[in-house]
Amino acid sequence: MSYPPELKALIRLVEKTRPQRVARARRGESYPALTLGAREERLKQFHPDYRPDAKRALAVGPNRGDLVPVELADLLESHSRMDPDEVRLDRIDLETDVLIIGGGGAGTAAALEAAQAGATAIVATKLRHGDANTVMAEGGIQAATAETDSPCYHYIDAMGGGHFANHPDLVEALVKDAPDAIEWLERLGVLFDKYPDGRLRVRHGGGTSRKRLHSSGDMTGAEIMRVLRDEARNQPGICVLEFTPALELLLDERGRCAGAVLLNLETRELYVARAKAVILSTGGLGRLHIQGFPCTNHYGATADGLVMAYRAGIKTCFLDSTQFHPTGAVFPEQNAGLLITEKVRGLGAQLLNRDGEEFLFALEPRDVASACIIRECTERANGIATPAGRSGVWLDSPMIDLLHGVGTVKRELGAKYLQFQRFGIDIGQEPMLIYPTLHYQNGGLMIGVNSETSMPGLFAAGEVSGGVHGRNRLMGNSLLDVVVFGRRAGRAAACLAREADTPTTLSLEHVRRFEQELAQAGRPDGRCGPMLLPNYAPDHIRARRVVLREA
């Protein structure tokens, strides 16, 4: 396959400017970083979050009046996928101490801690266990383990990255638990990169004042998920139900969370699952394709947990802040949206426009870098067009081998190397084409330091929750978030389950109340949620589909 002739011609421009750029880099010279004022300017003019038509104010629910992306507003203001009157709540199909909705990193960490505390747990997950955004996290997991580092610096970095909007107690918990999280993962058998003398290897990430990114090759998330999933399968007290998402939360007569209605995607059965504690770990919203952007997320990232919890009255925060990763692949088309880790820029690769020239400091914070790349391709018309009609700029990966020695790209970025080699592109020799891609939900359900929501019995952990990262998450703090708050959720849920009585009367009254609220707000347009799975069928296919009547 490889690059077509018109792109190869543009690559020659990159190759022409490369010797000088490498020489400048070797001298320690870099493109000047933007001033704080200039950063604000770029964000306001070009970051997708700031587009005036991108958001609308919620008309119903606990965050009524708050601005959120329109695609998310459609789902938060949606009707249930099922009729509450058709569910027999007196027939309990599944019973457990802790019900965990979502089987990614946070959900699995929660299950392990719950089991460790002697609780029984059911992990109800929409796809296969472990098919989640966790598995795609590449660069690493932050923790202040190095001698010259401390949790205080980690705290300051996280607050700075989050525009100082982070909830302080949550950040304190995150950074103080971090070294223990690394130790826990090590004891479970996660293989972190180490120096020959056995010390943990740590690197810088975007926005870090000290080196504290721990990695396992360029597949840190996959490695962590692999180990957590294997250990969960070893535990007799953990039952994993795959292809079984939740449709609605169940409350009891006291307004506490008491379980969920689950759907077997393959047999279309509904299950009433009763539990003494429920943990939402449903991940992010990439598959909503905010403003039509491709995403780095897995197939099931459809904000299900937000929808169900919002209906139950749980407040959210910072949902108006979406993280776009500056470097998502745009060529070949088969790779569109694929995450190209920040590590590539950390190793020295520069971002170049159509003329092969630099146009920004490569390690600006993610939101600023995204805005600048969008500006280069739109207002300044200096982008590169792909045959499929996408726009992009060059990420000059061949610089890495020139700066660090031949073979560095293949060694340090093995997974990416393979992803492009499959399509006939050697990223050690040719640059990649990239453009910002939808990546992470910065905000979410509000939680306390034990992952508790405002509703007794309901916990939330991982990407579905908000406050930990403020308005912008730093690289490596998401894997940390899922481990720290997943573990805290598991422990707190198990503790609650030990003390609580089994819920008696289950109720979907909150769903009916929400329906009334929708009707009163004049939002009857029939959209239902949670989405569960995105629908990519082209229009001509949908036009031929019908719903058959029962035979």
């Binding site: 396959m1 796809l127 296969r128 472990g130 098919d131 989640a132 598995v135 795609m136 383990t145 190095a146 401390s150 949790p151 205080c152 705290y155 300051i156 607050m159 909007a165 909830h167 302080p168 070294p179 130790e183 090590e186 004891r187 479970l188 058998g189 293989l191 180490k194 056995g198 010390r199 396992s216 090759g217 597949m219 998330g221 996959a222 692999r226 180990v227 294997d230 250990e231 399968r233 292809f243 393959e266 780095t296 897995h298 197939y299 070949p332 088309e333 088969q334 694929l338 995450l339 045959p387 499929a388 093995g414 997974a415 393979l418 992803q419 499959r422 990519y536 069928a537 082209p538 296919i541």
Partner: protein, 223 residues
């Protein structure tokens, strides 16, 4: 062929016309097929989309990840979706000799016939066969290294004529190598101890309460 001409592909024996610049998985989504099984990260790292396929004019069945294989005219494929591959249960804290325990948990691992089918099948280019022999001879460090990029698609177990479960052996060997055959870094343990002992509370108090007051104000302002 013009860049917009569709291509003809066969999925589970049925023919469909799809875009020529997509992957097998992208093609499946385009056909409107009811997609539940076989889709995961869509990015080549979760192994959910293990696929069997044939290229036009070829007789042998190839294996790969559907989200990474570009369509071509005449390609024919099916998704593996899932297949029986029991995972042996173990408790890390009860394993005294992980190299010996390997044979209790995976008794078939010594039955490798050196046919190389697993090496052919692995979409990540891992020398699976070599990894199994390293495991048998107790070189778990080598197994760990070989299987770093394993995505747990299970295709190796699918094709193995001797019923080995290499992708599960790999996780076991990697985990025991890390948890039982390697010491914990002392600096890490020291740092955990320092935090537990409250070594940082002083620094925390002076620097961060100031920062916290500032940020509490911002939070209050933003509500």
């Amino acid at each position: 062929m013009a860049s917009s001409d569709p291509v003809s592909i066969e999925f589970m024996g049925k023919t469909y016309q799809v875009s020529n610049d997509t992957t097998l998985l992208g093609a499946l989504l385009e056909t409107g097929w009811d997609c539940v099984r076989g889709l995961g990260c869509l990015g080549g790292c979760c192994g959910a989309c293990a696929t069997l396929y044939r290229l036009p004019g070829e007789a042998h069945v190839r294996t790969g990840l559907a989200c990474r294989i570009p369509v071509q005219d005449g390609i024919s494929f099916s998704l593996v979706g899932g297949f029986p591959c029991p995972k042996p249960l173990y408790d890390l804290s009860r394993i005294e000799d992980p190299r010996q325990a390997l044979f209790d948990l995976f008794p078939e691992v010594t039955g490798c016939r050196k046919c190389g089918s697993c090496v052919q099948a692995c979409p990540q280019g891992i020398d699976v066969m070599r990894g199994m022999w390293c495991a048998v001879f107790g070189d778990f460090a080598a197994v760990a290294d070989l299987f770093q990029s394993c995505v747990q698609c299970g295709l190796c177990a699918r094709v193995c004529g001797a019923a080995l479960r290499p992708f599960l052996v790999a996780v076991y060997a990697r985990r025991t190598q890390g948890a039982l055959l390697t010491d914990r870094p002392s600096a890490l343990l020291a740092r955990v101890g320092q935090i537990e002992a409250g070594v940082y509370e002083g620094e925390w108090g002076s620097v961060l309460r100031g920062l916290r007051a500032d940020s509490n104000q911002r939070m209050a302002d933003s509500r």
